[in-house]
Subunit: 399 residues, 2 copies
């Protein structure tokens, strides 16, 4: 279906066409669409074809494009599909194909507000057991609303950015007072992030049905977490320094349109949700993540069993009249499946550090300096084809 | 000390010179400095005097100015002091004095990340008693670190913006399940906000001693709060929709330099803080707020008794390596004094709604539609002069 040569197993087939921001040599960063091992440098191609708004692809972030809204996103996707399908466009496009190996990918958009949800029942149950062993693991509100909180937008970083080991206060088990030092329980959280394009007005909630009007697409998220800092600080106002040092996102934003074939029904919700969270067509996506610790696969969390749909997250986030802005990012919270090797964080995979994993022959619990974590993700469509989300990677640096 | 006529009791004397963004008729919004009943339209004055960077005053936000850093902030203040003191500048400046009554003030800066602390011991104790009546009011971490969390930057609004009553989930007392509806416990929080100018690098904490390198000045903050939404949602990840619908800030940013004479020593901290929070010159500011409910003074919270200094808040916020950006806003948390009429929220002033206030002859607990809240603030310097922070106001609108 395309004149471009796509290697077997590439995440970026001709139906995917995710957008990202690349830097090529000394040139200004600008927008590309990934296909196979290449990207299409969109600004010159759009300019050659005299496309309306072609200058938006010369911007160093996707924000101006994201602000255009659903009809323009759709038209752009149709244009991209034509470019890669239509042999007649080959002469125009081919000079602007750049190998992915020749570019450095940047943060794809400037993050406005960052919200992190907690939408996996398995993850919330596991963390409840670990953080509050003497109580019911799921708190009374958990099945009534998608619990979430605001994270730090300014420390959302591009895949590949080194992650400084955070320092701060933590209270060693049995100690009377906290001590300062580098985190000893540095962890990951495997998440899916949703990218808002179309803003909403203050005082005007976004209904579950309006999800696709506002959300352009998805990225992979690794919400690095310092469990020792978090455990000491988080009562009563929630996680703060345990999370705010860095959140890595993947460089390629995969559109909801590309994911459409991978939509699956939401698992049943019991008790029934309040009307503002209810909808006839609530979906999840059939996405599988893979977590590589220094190259070794250690977990494969499935997205499709998440309790809350992203449309419910957005409806909840805005039900109080909070507006959303272009560049808002909201993430699902850690994705954990029912099986041991489907858990999306090391605190779960090692059960609080008590059951080490064997990584390249060594017993491991939390992250050591020099460790590299790569998370990849694939959506599987109803007809069995795959839409890749690419990967998000980061290496721990001592601080 | 100035050739400009300043009315008795004006918050904006010749030593204050706060900066803000105004709109005058159909003209583009730009930056002014308040003095008495007027503002100085800075762009044409700076341009006439061929000041370096004069075009920054024609920007619609203070961000570019804030990014210049402490030496430029100081030079600008010296220039402004000269303008208002020096009779020779009168001919240049006078044509660019605009009455405050003729302009509309805008949000003074684009907010990057918004963090809200919880730094008043009296407030944290009061809220602990109200939210967790069966436990110790202050949690074990409270005196070891300035507890804080991230708020929603995109819903920080200019003073004067109508506040839509938020709707959402809350669980009525005695009910088994939550119900959806407009908040019935809509409240205020009187806070002081600190505005970051100079950014810091990821992985590089800002020491307590570097506070004035990074923070330009202060604004008044009203962190509107829906107590019923908050009570149901906040465990375990902290406040979210109970706060995210709106946070109002005052239009005039008062510089730390202008506040210098109002600095007072921090009250003793016991237990001693960890070294990264310790410093020889930790200060508070002698600021008194006044809260007007439909014009009636109902509370006068004092800032000077706050437990944590703003330099400690910034050092804590960044100790994990989190970077700060130009436009970051961090607020003190509700300011409450020891006396009943010094409490900075209605949940405290009415003790959870059980002890109504008499407002214009009526018994009142939480906010009704149409209510208007105005918070003003004054710093008092060691020599008894006053530096006004102006006011922040908002009116509740049904939604």
């Amino acid at each position: 279906m395309t004149w471009i040569d796509i290697p077997e197993g590439s995440p970026f087939g001709p139906e995917n066409l995710p957008l990202g921001v690349f830097r090529f040599g000394d040139e200004e960063p600008r927008i590309g669409a990934a296909i196979g091992d290449h990207l299409i440098d969109l600004a010159p191609v759009a300019s050659a074809q005299m496309l309306d708004g072609s200058q938006l692809f010369a911007e160093p972030t996707l924000n101006a494009f994201l602000a255009l809204g659903r009809p323009a996103w759709h038209a752009t996707r149709e244009w991209l599909l034509d470019l890669v399908r239509n042999e007649n466009d080959r002469d125009t496009v081919e000079p602007h194909l750049i190998p992915l190996s020749a570019v450095t990918m940047q943060l794809p958009f400037e993050v406005a507000d960052y919200v992190d949800f907690y939408a996996s029942e398995q993850h919330a149950t596991n963390l409840g057991r670990l953080f509050r062993p003497d109580s019911e693991p799921l708190l009374p509100n958990w099945k009534h609303l998608p619990v979430g909180y605001h994270g730090r937008a300014g420390t959302v970083v591009a895949s590949g950015t080194d992650i400084f080991r955070p320092a701060g206060q933590r209270k060693p088990p049995g100690a009377d007072v906290p001590a300062y030092g580098p985190s000893e329980r540095l962890d990951i959280e495997v998440e899916l992030g949703f990218v808002v394009g179309t803003p909403s007005a203050l005082g005007r909630p976004v209904s579950v049905g309006a999800f696709e009007e506002h959300v352009y697409g998805v990225v992979l998220v690794n919400d690095w977490s310092a469990r020792d800092l978090q455990a000491w600080e988080y009562v009563p106002l929630g996680p703060f320094l345990g999370k705010s040092f860095a959140t890595s996102i993947s460089p390629w934003v995969v559109s909801l349109e590309a994911l459409r074939g991978a939509a699956v029904p939401l698992p049943p919700q019991d008790p029934p949700v309040l009307p503002y969270l209810a909808g006839a067509n609530l979906v999840n996506y059939d996405i599988t993540f893979e977590v590589f610790w220094n190259g070794q696969l250690v977990s494969s969390p499935p997205y499709k069993d998440m309790y809350w749909s992203p449309a419910q997250m957005l409806a909840h986030l805005s039900v109080n009249g909070a507006s959303v802005r272009t560049g808002d990012l909201f993430a699902s919270g850690t994705v954990s499946g029912a099986e041991q090797d489907q858990r999306g964080s090391f605190i779960e995979l090692t059960w609080g550090g008590r059951e080490p994993l064997l990584v390249n022959g060594e017993e491991r619990t939390f992250l050591a300096d020099g460790d590299e974590i790569t998370i990849s993700g694939w959506a599987t469509t109803a007809d069995g084809s795959r839409i890749g989300l690419g990967e998000v990677t980061g290496r721990i640096t001592p601080n």
